[in-house]
């Protein structure tokens, strides 16, 4: 069978794509599928991957490798976006669309995600590290031809911060002077916020304190500009997919609810020449097995991280088009420390030391993730993370004895809460067995579906819960400031004065090295005293066809598509690259 029949599917899909539409996916992959269905589908997929390769040259790749005709990229966006308004959106699928349709002051380098000039062609930073002056490119326009000026950024950022907008990520701009107070309604005079547009091409941002990652924040979707002239005319209706006016490399040409987005280049984009793709089709396939099937069949060229079922990863990770680098997230258990017995730090230490992360990563998850005994993930320049927590059953028993439960005697039965997912269940079962074996304590499991689980964790109505956190920007702060007293995302009731103090001081510390030292000390306190049991470090699990050029592995799973292209001759290029090492 081979490539001809594969080519047929591809052509068919392509013929759909040009005239029809495909759709995107989101981060709602919180395992809402029908479990039995997912399991069977995964099983079938697993067998499928075991089949003989269709063509000799394809053995190294997962499924069809016939490039589409033309510069067309089809990818799975994971879900239907909830919002297309960057100011209020909060999900990965929303963000992927927004990053194509809009462009911020800076955009992100496709490999490193380092801020590179976007709508601003250069910027200055005052010597005290507080005032950024952005200079916009001359002649910028919105996709509808309306001029884009510094006042648009001023208006957009103020709109994000205005309490009435209801932006979920307004805190991304809280580094700006008085932004937090204005957003909370404590300050009503918007001119007090550290934003100004002295002329049409200059945007000045005054920060509350030096923020080393501020430029990165300007690449985040909340910071993207929104078209005042359209919003004032259409109100909420401006978010209509087909009416959306952006300033980025692409614009939405077609949209069908829960079926697809089709994007085409924005002819008015300042860097139109750098945009290679003629068409992007984003599909909202939620079912992970389906998404992976579509990839294998060659209908989808890129299945971003997280959209490959965990059970399938062991079968596909040896393929060249699978990419499994580190991903900026941590999977952990948290405990409600206002409840007995978790109010005792020795209980928390005992549970931590009795958790064999390596066994979970190796045996339960079949080596698809990295066991991780810290809360911040790997890889921040200059950050020396504290030593990782280790599995130590002897020490665990000592801790439990110190808490007054030698050999687990008298320890009340506790419950592990997780949301519906085969993996969460298997991990919880493993932890349950470990704690019983090493500590002699009784653990029950409680499975709830997503919304119930959220309600329970938010209300701190649990003993131990499966949690996870994905970083927003490449800085340890994004994993640490959530644990200060009364922070909404802590959901544990934990409070530690020294920790709070370190985080507060790190926020205003001018010396970057000293700042990172403070954060490292804070993390050490969190690991030794805190309400968390780290389990593993997330890994990227994405599939990218070999003919797609320009989508790289990045720790934040952000992938600018501006410079991406399709290589119709990828085979000969790959062969040539192998011949000349």
């Amino acid at each position: 069978m081979g490539r001809t029949s594969g080519g047929r599917t591809r052509r068919e899909a392509a013929s759909l794509a040009p005239d029809g539409i495909l759709r995107p996916v989101t981060a709602l992959a919180k395992n809402q599928g029908v479990p039995a269905l997912a399991a069977v589908a995964a099983l079938v997929l697993a067998f499928g991957t075991g089949c003989a390769p269709r063509a000799a040259g394809d053995a190294a790749y997962f499924g069809d490798t016939t490039p589409p005709s033309g510069q067309v990229l089809t990818f799975n966006n994971g879900a239907e976006p909830e919002h297309l308004d960057p100011a209020v959106m909060s999900g990965q699928p929303d963000g992927r669309i927004a990053r194509m349709v809009f462009e911020g002051l800076c955009s992100a380098d496709p490999r490193t995600l380092a801020p590179v000039p976007g709508q601003a062609y250069r910027w200055d930073l005052s010597p005290d590290g507080l005032v950024y002056t952005f200079h916009l490119r001359p002649g910028l326009t919105w996709a509808d031809g309306h001029p884009l000026i510094a006042g648009d950024f001023l208006w957009s950022w103020r709109r994000v911060l205005a309490p009435a907008t209801g932006s979920r990520y307004a805190s991304f701009l809280f580094a700006v002077r008085n932004a937090g107070a204005y957003n909370a309604g404590e300050l009503t005079d918007v001119t007090q916020v550290g934003l100004a547009a002295p002329d049409e091409s200059t945007f000045v941002v005054t920060l509350a304190q030096p923020t080393p990652y501020f430029l990165e924040l300007t690449t985040f979707y909340t910071s993207l500009p929104t078209p005042r002239h359209v919003i004032e005319k259409l109100g909420d209706g401006w978010e209509d997919a087909l009416a959306l006016v952006g300033n980025g490399p692409f614009r939405i040409a077609e949209w069908e609810l829960k079926n697809r987005f089709v994007l085409v280049p924005n002819e008015r984009y300042w860097d139109r020449g750098a945009v290679k793709l003629e068409r992007i089709v984003a599909l909202p396939v939620e079912e992970l097995s389906t998404a992976t099937n579509l990839y294998k069949a060659g209908v989808v060229d890129w299945n971003p991280s997280g959209y490959v079922p965990k059970t399938v990863v062991p079968f596909v990770r040896h393929f060249k088009d699978f990419s499994g680098g580190p991903y900026h997230g941590t999977y952990f258990y948290s405990m409600v420390v206002t409840k007995k017995p978790f109010d005792d730090v020795w209980v928390r230490r005992a549970l931590n030391a009795a958790t064999d992360r390596a066994a979970i990563a190796e045996h339960v998850l079949r080596g698809t993730v990295t066991a991780w005994g810290g809360i911040t993930p790997m890889g921040y320049a200059g950050y020396a993370a504290p030593p990782q927590l280790k599995y130590d059953p002897v020490y665990a028993r000592e801790c439990l004895a110190k808490a007054g439960y030698p050999g687990g005697k008298g320890f009340p039965p506790i419950e592990i809460l997780f949301n519906t997912s085969e993996d969460h269940r298997r991990i919880a079962e493993a932890v349950q067995a470990m704690w019983k074996r090493d500590l002699g304590i009784q653990v029950t499991l409680s499975n709830q579906e997503w919304a119930s689980y959220l309600a329970a964790t938010t209300a701190k109505n649990y003993d131990v819960a499966r949690r996870s956190w994905i970083g927003d920007f490449a800085d340890p702060m994004t994993f640490l400031d959530m644990w200060i007293t009364d922070a909404g995302n802590s959901r544990t009731g934990w409070s530690n004065a020294e920790y709070d103090d370190l985080i507060r001081r790190a926020t205003v510390e001018v010396d970057p090295a000293e700042r990172l030292r403070m954060l490292s000390r804070a993390e050490a306190i969190l690991l030794s005293e805190g309400p968390v049991i780290p389990v593993y470090h997330y890994a990227e699990t994405s599939l990218i066809k070999p003919y797609v050029l320009g989508i790289h592995s990045t720790v934040l799973d952000v992938h600018p598509l501006k410079g991406v292209s399709i290589d119709p001759d990828w085979r000969s290029h790959a062969a040539a690259a192998e011949a000349t090492p």
Partner: protein, 305 residues
Amino acid sequence: MITFILRRMLLMVPTLWAIATLTFFMMRAAPGGPFQSEREIPAAAKEVLFAKYGLDKPWPEQYVTFLGNAARLDFGPSYKYPTQQVSDIIRSSFPASFELGLWSLLLALALGIPLGVIAANRQNTATDYLTMSATLLGVSIPNFVLGPVLVLVFALTLYWLPPALWLGPSSRVLPVLTLSAIYLAYIARLTRGGMLETLRQDYIRTARAKGLPESRVVFGHALKLGILPVVSYLGPAVARIVMGSIVIEQIFAVPGLGRQLVSAAFNRDYTLVLGIVVFYAGFLMVLNLVVDVAYSWFDPRVELA
């Protein structure tokens, strides 16, 4: 007949009201709500959302507002996709479910009835046994098994058809086959049973005795009565099949209403759930009515009362 239809339609109103009310309170009773996230939503943002959707008001007031709007078939915007009106979501999702169901039903009828007739006509022959064994398989294999197996064979091994999506004719084949399998098998079995019974009736013997060709006996006389079991089965079946199959829409990423309903329930998207449930309920009742009327046409002995 007209009185019957009118009375049935009047009865729908209290039924719909009861269903809507139950759904409203069941949704509110489910833990969690529409605006929660793994990441804390800032208090200010939450207030804005709650005020916007009237969730800051007490339940009874929300209920009254909801009933008033529902009576005008206006369910407001979805909570999860606030740029979409519930009615627009239903309008744009239902066609895919309907089309999927329609093709599946047509396929099931087009193959199921002839298979049943043939099997009945050759009762206790190899053809009969073969057909009935095959339909037994069709009835017993759940669609969440059949779907992935078809995908494995036709999409991932032979590369003939796309494994999912709802774009172009080729993408219809696998979901339609999967959805129709069980109905096809069931219809074949029902037809066979009905035909066997009918073929033993006196009037069939009479028809044969007066020398009618066998084809006229079967298709002209026996079939009309023989497929009555199929007709009564069709009422609920049509509703189920055209409302979309949740499982199949998930497996094949069909942008239908079933998929919307499931995700809406998970998301606690109150307005969307209510809208879809009321739509489903109304649709089901209308279909049942149609079947009852059709039944009296097929079998004049049935009196509508």
